[in-house]
Point group: C2
Chain length 160, copies 2
DNA sequence: CAGTATGTTTACAGATCTCTGAAAGCTCGA
DNA sequence: TCGAGCTTTCAGAGATCTGTAAACATACTG
């Protein structure tokens, strides 16, 4: 009678955690479905999932899965793994994906750096604009140097 | 006759740089109008801008400006400055905004850390899931420790 | 080589989001 | 306390985005 009050089983908890993380990532700019696919692959208790698995788990169409995967693979978060004995494609959350994800920030850092330079080139010294852009340039120069080093440092520490 | 071929003047270049950066930020998850307001304040040759300035510069309504500002102020990217002699509010791109922006990443790092822990709590050892989540936990633990230190390090170096 | 199982693309529909315009709400000076 | 000058809020219009379904492409199997 009180079975309904039982604690969530592990599977439910994982699914729940997946959905919540997906929501957060979505708020951070990632497409909602893309985020859901990614977190499903992260929290699944299987090693890999097929497109059909993802359709069912997330209740979305195969088209949506295809689109999401198409976004996740190029950025290195997910990989397609050969599936011997199965005709279906299998997908797996990629090792080192988090470091990869953080590395993408790096591209952004360089965009910012470039943007600062552009502004500096177009404005005279001694203006408020110049001061603001100098700070921007200084900050992103620093970060563009330090962040990759940090990530590399983690990679070494984790593997070694 | 060939006046149309002249080089863009500085003002145009700045406006252009502003719009391009805004676009990039928008692709990175920031609201489009919010990004435009932010970059307008960054690249303007004035020290501060009023809401009316922003309306005109960006060709948007005052409501849109209000909404954008409402998002930018709490996160510390823009500040409202008292404007003696003017009844209008003046807004200024805030000093140290970039470091602030990067610090927000920190919140994200902790969300990720929490998400990893949740998953680990819900799954058994030795599973692929556990391995993935351990890596995630390790990475974000590392980053949550190192990133703030880096930012602090920049602040010291820039000010001193 | 044909048939079948799967993945991908596309046009359209539905949902969501964001801007605008107008009205309401503040704030400050008189 | 009133009123002018701005800002904020809100409902609705418009645009954008995204998922679905179905057609299409591809790759395996017998």
């Amino acid at each position: 009678m009180f079975a309904i009050l039982r604690a969530m089983d592990a599977k439910e908890q994982l699914r729940d955690a997946a959905e919540r993380l997906a929501l957060t990532l979505a708020q951070g700019g990632m497409q909602k479905t893309t985020a859901r696919v990614m977190t499903a692959l992260l929290y699944t208790e299987q090693d890999t999932m097929t497109a059909a698995d993802l359709c069912e788990e997330l209740s979305i169409s195969s088209g949506a899965v295809s689109t999401a995967i198409k976004q996740l693979i190029p950025v290195g978060l997910v990989e397609r793994v050969p599936a011997p004995g199965s005709r279906r494609d299998h997908y797996r959350f990629r090792e080192g994906a988090w470091a990869t994800l953080m590395s993408q920030q790096n591209t952004m850092l360089n965009v910012m750096l470039h943007a600062a330079q552009e502004g500096i080139d177009a404005t005279g010294d001694g203006t408020p604009t110049a001061r603001r852009l100098r700070e921007m340039q200084d900050f992103y120069t620093f970060m563009a140097r330090e962040l990759p080093a940090q990530i590399e440092s983690w990679r070494k520490q984790y593997q070694g």
